[in-house]
Symmetry: C2
Subunit: 431 residues, 2 copies
């Protein structure tokens, strides 16, 4: 019986797994050095939990299942609801700031397309319990710290930063009623994804007054902090929000990553739950969809039945990132290669126990070692096996072993040396 | 709205996650040094795939779901079917031996109990394409190599090794028909789990003849290789199977792990698909259920629509293992602690850009660093934050920074030294 994998999922053969590990290990390393602690939750949760943040529409995009008791469950499509649940459960025991990261496997029951699969990994970093914009800057810095260490430069990627609070104040000053904001955000969020005519058409449905519409379009086309500063009214709600944006840019500059960052008021993020600084990372060329996005969401914990505690975070999926790293030549072939420290070979008439003993000895010292399972393989066949496994060195057990000596062959240079077995063991690099 | 997690799943708070990482990282490290390559598959597969190996009963124990097209899917309850599917898909392209490992997250829709949850992790190692028992010994050695490096000794755990092929030959010589074997294996597998009377009652239902039953009970009570050797008839099918068992023990002895291993013919493994050497690891006291189990399964790839290729492997879950490691005191408290290389603090009147710059500098050198998000925190509050995050050292930015100098405080000894900033940076250990 022949079986295929489900569409939109991935099989990770060793070469694919090596790339996945390269990405995930990088996320983990950068999270730790930026002072985040790792957490995780279950793959499935009660379905209703995912409706709190994203409404009933989300149900359409979920893989749902039921348990024995007939309760409705769903595979997690994002990590933030689980984070909110977990933090609320222990809110009094957790010391603040809570600075957590996770690399969950997530699921979306959508039609698969380039950079968007039904099953994927997503790096999440969040800081909970800090009102100051330093935390927003810290989230953005950590994001850039990862991108930079993969080799992506400010010429490759741009962090587009904006403020929901500033946008709300500006729109309010243009006479847009507060209850219209969420619907307007949803339209503004589409700016980069739509032809300009379609975008302005959609916008005019929300904002029929031509003059107001022009003002909005002018505002979201501002492309620098200095241009922004020119339009901000002193001592207004706008001015307070603007000073937050300025502080974030100043911190990022001090941290040495200012050249990755630009101000872009058209970044609004679709979801209603963002409340302050928001950002997205895009390829500088701008062809791929967003590499990641995030921002401040000060009301979410309360929406999940907890206290009002501020929070800011970021999520980055592996699919678009991998496409970008591959295009930029930042996934070297060496990543995907199996590597062995030693292959233990034997000459005719030898093998067996001595080989097993040496292999076990090497492994117990933390070195990777293998041998041929074919008891009668000739030396040249064994060398082929060693090469196929990319062994750095071959140890050869032969006549010399009567004098307690081994031949060690460097598989790169081909050089062979005769060494005393005890000296060989005591000279091994251990990990 | 308050939401709880689903019963039988786990929330991994940072201290729990540290333990999970300790276990999983150990599995990965040992797999690599034993020459295995990592792979993974999707979390869900077509439901029918899981019925091939385990029959229709398995459906009861699965979390099932459907995709948009109404196709029946299931969360994976084990890894072997995915392994068989993936290997078969590329059977001609993969160089042999295929020596793969994986650490999948698995799911069972059972009632949760101690050591058995609905969602868990399982270490899988498999060697495909090797007929020789060296591969069986290699699987058992790798299993022990992991257990040994956690600190578990031969006094703590025992690897109980047996042979399905030998058992089949012995039962045949007692007159048991071949088509009765699978049903008999299922009963024999229960020996250790049932009171002796219940076990013999169940056995007598399969084997009504008292004399045959006594012979079987005598055979499965053999507890050493020498006692086994005494009952083996020369030049029989038994003798051939016995020589395989002997070879496995000899290899394991040569590899230095003979004292972990005992012969135990009552180990049969429940599943029909095992064909040769089988084994389980149990706590020496024998109170917990099996820590892991495995064996040779030469027909599985063919059952999954591929060619007839031999295979042998092992699976170890994280739940029972964690209980055992905890009981033996092998999960030190230090595992679960957040650790920070540096906390960058500031004296009154300082802070801001200089702090951000130093933090970023430390992180870019691979060191973990953090600072207080409270712009006006006093030094003693900052030291408390540093201690809460278990920082090794504090860097203090104060008056001395006018002369380009910093105070570095060792948080363990309390010792403080004044250092030049450039010398401090050039003297950092980098990773």
């Amino acid at each position: 019986m022949k079986i295929s994998p489900v569409k939109g999922t991935r099989d990770f053969y060793p070469t694919d797994m090596a790339v996945r590990n390269f990405i995930v290990d990088g996320w983990k390393k950068v999270s730790l050095r930026n002072g985040f602690e790792e957490y995780d939750g279950p793959i499935f949760e009660y379905l209703k939990m995912f409706q709190i943040k994203s409404g009933d529409e989300i149900v359409e995009q979920l893989f749902s299942l039921t348990d024995r008791g007939g309760r409705d469950l769903a595979l997690r499509p994002e990590m933030t609801p689980t984070l909110a649940r977990m933090v609320n459960q222990r809110i009094n025991a957790l010391s603040r700031p809570i600075k957590w990261f996770s690399v969950p496997r997530l699921f979306r029951a959508e039609r698969p397309q380039k950079g968007r699969l039904r099953e994927f990994f997503q790096w999440n970093i969040d800081i909970i319990g800090v009102d100051q914009t330093t935390a927003d800057a810290e989230i953005i810095f950590t994001t850039i710290d990862y991108l930079r260490q993969t080799g992506l430069t400010p010429q490759d990627v741009k962090v587009r930063i904006s403020s929901r609070r500033l946008l709300a104040a500006v729109l309010k000053s243009y006479g847009i009623p507060a209850d219209q904001l969420d619907a307007l955000y949803a339209v503004l969020d589409k700016k980069a994804k739509l032809p300009i005519e379609t975008f302005e058409q959609m916008l005019s449905e929300q904002v029929p007054d031509r003059q107001t519409l022009d003002k909005i379009v002018t505002f979201i086309n501002i492309d620098s902090m200095s241009a922004l500063e020119d339009v901000i009214q002193a001592e207004s709600e706008e001015a307070a929000a603007f000073s937050e944006v300025k502080a974030v840019f100043a911190t990022l500059k001090a941290m040495g990553v200012g050249d990755y960052c630009i101000y872009d008021p058209s970044i609004v993020r679709g979801l209603a739950y963002y409340t302050g600084i928001v950002f997205e990372v895009h390829e500088a060329g701008g062809e791929l969809r967003a590499i990641c996005g995030g921002g401040r969401y000060d009301n979410l914990l309360r929406d999940f039945g907890g206290p009002a505690i501020s929070a800011t975070g970021m999520g980055m999926g592996d699919c678009v990132l991998e496409i970008l790293l591959r295009e930029k030549g930042l996934l070297g072939e060496s990543i995907a290669q199996k590597r062995l420290d030693y292959f233990v070979a034997f000459a005719e008439g030898y093998g067996g126990d001595t080989v097993y003993r040496i292999v076990a000895e090497l492994r117990s010292r933390g070195l990777s070692a293998a041998f041929s399972y074919k008891a009668k393989a000739g030396l040249s066949k064994q060398f082929k096996e060693a090469s196929a496994q990319n062994a750095g060195k071959c140890v050869i057990v032969g006549d010399e072993f009567k004098d307690h000596k081994l031949v060690v062959k460097d598989m790169t240079t081909g050089e062979q040396v005769l060494v005393d077995y005890d000296e060989f063991l005591s000279g091994l690099d251990t990990t």
